[in-house]
């Protein structure tokens, strides 16, 4: 547990910043041509970008972007995926067969390729990013939920609940969901990490949030052009991104060990 402390602290800091970024006295969009590309200095934060905007302020606001997208996408895809997967697994038959084909089709698009295409067609904006990533993200939860339900639905307590006349929603929510929660929580934890990377990736490609709104990915995108003269533009947001993803992955590993679930969650992750 002690080894996890830095990871937990990073995640806490990320969460707090995301929640409080609106209240802090930041001016991430203030353009000051006198300060263009100034390097980090003592007391001067993390330097300034190509428009003279403060890098630290933009990073803090970027924390909020990645947080909102990460939790939005994971919540949306988990609810949708679990619903589809659990229903398919429980009801079986043609519905299940159809669901499996649809899942296979979505899984045939490697990584975030489908999200890239969707985000590109939908146009930039945080809503569209969430929509595009959730369209890709639900499949993982659906697969997991379906597999879990298939192995659970013949258990005695489910048969008993059915015999007692419980309706479908009650069986799913009260009798199945609690038993599938451990692997789902782990999947969602790794999901947060991969969505943080995916959002930054889309923004890096210019398909994410719209300027001047800050995202770690778009900061890296803008900074790459000045790599030689002002490496801090790429180093700072990248380090923040890396730290958050690493912390969440560490937490996921710890949860997996603790909850003792043998799930190969990461292998289908959204490698970017």
């Amino acid at each position: 547990m002690k080894r996890l402390l830095p990871a937990v602290l990073i995640i806490l800091a990320w969460t707090l910043l995301a929640l409080l970024a609106g209240q802090l006295p930041l001016d991430p969009d203030r353009i000051d041509l006198q300060r263009i590309l100034l390097p980090p200095a003592a007391g001067g934060g993390l330097g300034f970008d190509d428009l003279g905007r403060p890098v630290l302020d933009r990073m803090l606001v970027g924390a909020r972007t990645s947080f909102v997208v990460a939790f939005g996408v994971v919540a949306l895809s988990a609810v949708l995926g679990v619903l589809i997967g659990a229903l398919a697994g429980y009801l079986g038959g043609r519905l299940d067969a159809a669901a499996v084909v649809v899942m296979d089709v979505f899984l045939a698009f490697p990584g975030i390729l489908l999200a890239i295409a969707l985000a590109g067609l939908l146009g930039p904006g945080i809503d569209n990013v969430i929509l595009a990533l959730a369209t890709v993200g639900w499949v993982g939860y659906a697969r997991l939920a379906r597999a879990q339900v298939l192995s659970l639905k013949q258990r005695e307590h489910i048969v008993a609940a059915r015999a007692l006349g419980s309706r479908l929603p009650r069986i799913l929510l009260r009798h199945l969901l609690p038993l599938m929660s451990a692997p789902l929580i782990i999947e969602a934890t790794f999901g947060i990490a991969s969505v943080v990377i995916a959002e930054a990736g889309l923004s890096f490609l210019g398909l994410g949030v719209q300027p001047p709104q800050a995202s770690w990915g778009s900061m890296i995108r803008d900074g790459v052009r000045y790599l030689l003269v002002a490496p801090h533009l790429v180093l700072a947001p990248g380090a923040a991104l890396f730290a958050v993803v690493l912390a969440v992955n560490l937490l996921g590993d710890a949860l997996r060990d603790r909850l003792d679930v043998r799930a190969d969650t990461q292998e289908r992750g959204m490698t970017v």
């Binding site: 089709v105 390729l113 398909l207 992955n249």
Partner: protein, 309 residues
């Protein structure tokens, strides 16, 4: 035995049909009028009509869908709105660059993952193991669009050993391949380790040791040989991740492959080219996974004789 291959082939065919349909639907799923999105609001009505006809958007959706599928079967993916050239020609032009990058990245992946995984498994719990798994965690957590610029900063700008971007000669592929390969090696080395650990606990390993074989022979011939089977499946999935990840990496290094073409086409709202790129990448992924499944079944009779699936 042929039954397994046949079932697998049929399900792959369904997936291909689904993939093509979804790619076709991409344009129609997007809210708003695609023609308006492409031309902007100030376009003349005649231009809109012309584009609508050029894309076949004036026909019923069902007919468009059948036309798209029939065209795709013939390798005809329409014409680029930007360059007015056939999409298939554009794809063919970019394919060698992506293939080169993929092979190089795969090589990097294997060169890192195999030794690291074997080292970690044979010295389980040691410093080597910790270091290898630490590398794996770092590799999974570092995004390509950050690792890429970092490598450029170190090897191109500070040390001046390798070119920053583009595709000129063999040394320009090194950094993109390293970038793509590292994250995959991170996942694969974990898999090699756990798979090898499982195999090394088997009875036949004890037998091999007991009859006095050299430890290295036992590990590599008897252990790794068997441990690589599940790794093979993962490698198939990975190759897909390579293809998908290539979009980002090719953008970082301005590598003129399919991935960069995808992004260029998105920026130009050149929808037929976007569709072609996505379709090509997804189909290669399906084919690669089909081939790995077949290889697996060929190498491991338990699969094709069907106790599992």
């Amino acid at each position: 035995m042929p039954a397994y291959f046949l079932t697998r082939l049929v399900s792959a065919a369904w997936v291909v049909l689904g993939v093509a349909s979804l790619v076709f639907l991409l344009i129609h799923l997007v809210p708003g009028d695609p023609v308006e999105m492409m031309l902007g609001e100030s376009a003349a009505a005649a231009d809109r009509q012309a584009l609508r006809e050029a894309l076949g958007l004036d026909q019923p959706v069902l007919q468009q869908w059948l036309g798209f599928l029939a065209g795709a079967l013939r390798g005809d993916l329409g014409v680029s709105l930007y360059s007015q050239r056939p999409v298939s020609g554009l794809l063919l032009e970019r394919l060698p660059a992506t293939a080169e990058l993929t092979v190089a990245a795969l090589l990097v992946t294997l060169l890192i993952a195999l030794p690291l995984g074997v080292l970690a498994a044979t010295r389980q719990g040691s410093w080597w193991d910790t270091a290898a798994m630490g590398f794996s965690l770092l590799g999974v957590s570092i995004p390509n669009f950050w690792l890429g610029p970092l490598l450029v900063l170190l090897f191109s700008l500070w040390l001046g050993w390798l070119p920053v971007s583009g595709r000129n000669g063999i040394d320009s592929v090194i950094l993109p391949a390293l970038t793509l390969g590292t994250s995959l090696a991170a996942i694969l080395s974990r898999m090699v380790r756990s798979s090898l650990l499982e195999v090394l606990g088997e009875d036949f390993i004890r037998t091999a040791r007991a009859k006095g074989l050299a430890p290295l022979t036992v590990t590599l011939r008897h252990g790794l040989g068997n441990a690589l089977l599940p790794v093979l499946t993962l490698l198939g999935l990975q190759l897909g991740a390579l293809l998908g990840g290539a979009v980002v990496t090719e953008t970082v290094f301005n590598w003129p492959g399919i991935g960069l073409l995808t992004i260029e086409a998105i920026q130009r709202r050149d929808y037929p080219v976007v569709q072609g790129c996505v379709l090509l990448i997804a189909l290669s992924y399906v084919v690669v996974n089909l081939v790995t499944d077949f290889l697996y079944a060929w190498a491991d009779p338990r699969v094709r004789l069907g106790s599992g699936s």
